[in-house]
Chain length 302, copies 2
């Protein structure tokens, strides 16, 4: 260890806790993952116990701040951190909910999520990724796409989240591929042609989606559709319908896809096929950068 | 019991077996339900065991036909009954797969399902409901809608299934209401206004569906959307998108909804709100009527 822990940064989602220990310069001393996500913990004190367990033998001697983002700030979490309202900057430490702890060595700040009143929408965690992007690139003006279980599209201008929209595409893919009748014909692997053809199909005719979904099953029974093609077609039908719905976000805009995994690849290919201007941002450290920015603001106000 | 069993009729689906004993005139002597659906039985002989168990002490002394429709005729069923190809009449006993049995008192005929080559689609069981409708009303010319886990729309003319299309609406509703993030805000009850407003929303803009689905969650968190309204809105968003996709089926057509339950009520209200000409047909005995018609044809050819 090259220095003393000066701050903990925590990305605390539904299924995982990702914890970083930072030194006074903001450099990462160590990083630890735990599966004690919000979904496994009772609201309240169980979160402190899980945090202390994750810190383990590395509990600092002096009191340090803990900057938390994500579902730990929801009503079912550690403590509710009320939403900021878009249009707004990503909420920082000044907006955080200060949570009392049993130990006096941890000063916990839970960052708020962001809500939108009309149409109603919410995010918790993504706003901190966006804060990380803006910390890196303060002049960013355009649209970000954050693919995931609940994919978010957000318009960013003058450091603010101007508006955003959430699509359940990822969760529908998981449910349909694993638990619906389609699971019988879906396997591993990827077929890019099948994916792009499906994207194009629902982009031009999104109303047909529920029928085209069943067509995956029929094509498996009648035409021997390969399991990898079936999986790619399912993904393409869902993403194509999303792109049709999100068109006002990406059409004629600069779009940054925050993500490094296969699903971000799929969004990039689908958008590129529509002629959109797409760039990729490796999202792996964006949340950390956003948490660091909140800590820096805390030091300024202290 | 008013007479001897002359025929068994069986509607054998994925989750249930519905069995009728008919006398020589076609009248129902008794009817029995079993939960030994296709999903619980290994392909092959397990089906005969389940059938004999359902017949119980009422096994006739002489050999009788057993007319079967539904998923028992699929590849994972008792024996595969290859599909008839639309356009076609609902397949009858002459097209059935004759399955050998251990007992010589049951002569089993499994009716085929119907497939469509382009766009690829399949049905197993619904074609027998349609046969029942045509047995009652041979001149029927129009569209039938069979709401269910996989809702079917079919064009019927000159006793034939001309074309059909399957929508996964019911299965999506089950998955999203019970297993997605939306389950937290969904409860029992029904809100007809919320349903019709959602139908209208996705009918006019089906591309927005995946975002409007997440809006159910956001509206629960931010605006206190009631659990019954959330459930009705989910149903409306899915059915609205289906009606947009199925418009070529119902627009300007005579539409018969085959069903007597709540989901058929929902389809009727949604179609009526679009100004469609809708009639309801109580579907409870349609399958039996279709199986009876197949038996009658068998007697003629014998």
């Amino acid at each position: 260890m090259s220095g003393a822990v000066a701050c903990f940064a925590a990305d605390w989602g539904t299924t995982h806790l990702r914890l970083w220990a930072l030194d006074a310069s903001g450099a990462v001393l160590w990083q630890r993952d735990s599966d004690e996500g919000m979904g496994k913990l009772a609201p309240g004190g169980a979160f402190e116990t899980a945090l202390v367990r994750a810190i383990g033998p590395d509990m600092p001697a002096a009191s340090v701040p803990v900057i938390v983002c994500g579902m730990a700030g929801s009503r079912q979490g550690w403590a509710e951190a009320p939403y900021a309202t878009a249009p707004c900057e990503s909420p920082g430490a000044a907006d955080a909910t200060r949570v009392p702890t049993a130990t006096d060595r941890l000063k916990v700040y839970i960052l708020p999520g962001v809500k939108q009143v009309s149409p109603p929408d919410v995010m918790r965690g993504e706003e901190t990724q966006i804060a990380g992007l803006i910390a890196r690139e303060p002049e960013f003006d355009g649209v970000v796409c954050l693919p995931g279980t609940h994919t978010k599209w957000a318009r960013i201008s003058a450091r603010e989240i101007v508006s955003f929209q959430t699509f359940m595409t990822g969760e529908m893919f998981a449910l349909l591929s694993r638990q619906s009748v389609l699971r019988h014909g879906i396997g591993e692997g990827w077929d890019q042609d099948a994916f792009l053809e499906a994207v194009s199909g629902t982009m031009s005719r999104p109303a047909g989606m529920a029928a085209q979904l069943f067509g995956i099953r029929s094509s498996g029974l009648l035409a021997g559709l390969a399991p990898a093609a079936a999986r790619s077609r399912l993904s393409g039908l869902l993403i194509g319908a999303e792109l049709a719905g999100a068109r006002p976000y990406w059409l004629g805009q600069r779009v940054a896809i925050l993500g490094a995994d296969g699903i971000a690849d799929a969004y990039e290919a689908a958008l590129a096929a529509q002629g959109a201007q797409v760039e990729r941002v490796d999202a792996s450290d964006l949340t950390l950068d956003g948490l660091r920015a909140a800590w820096a603001a805390l030091k300024e106000t202290a």
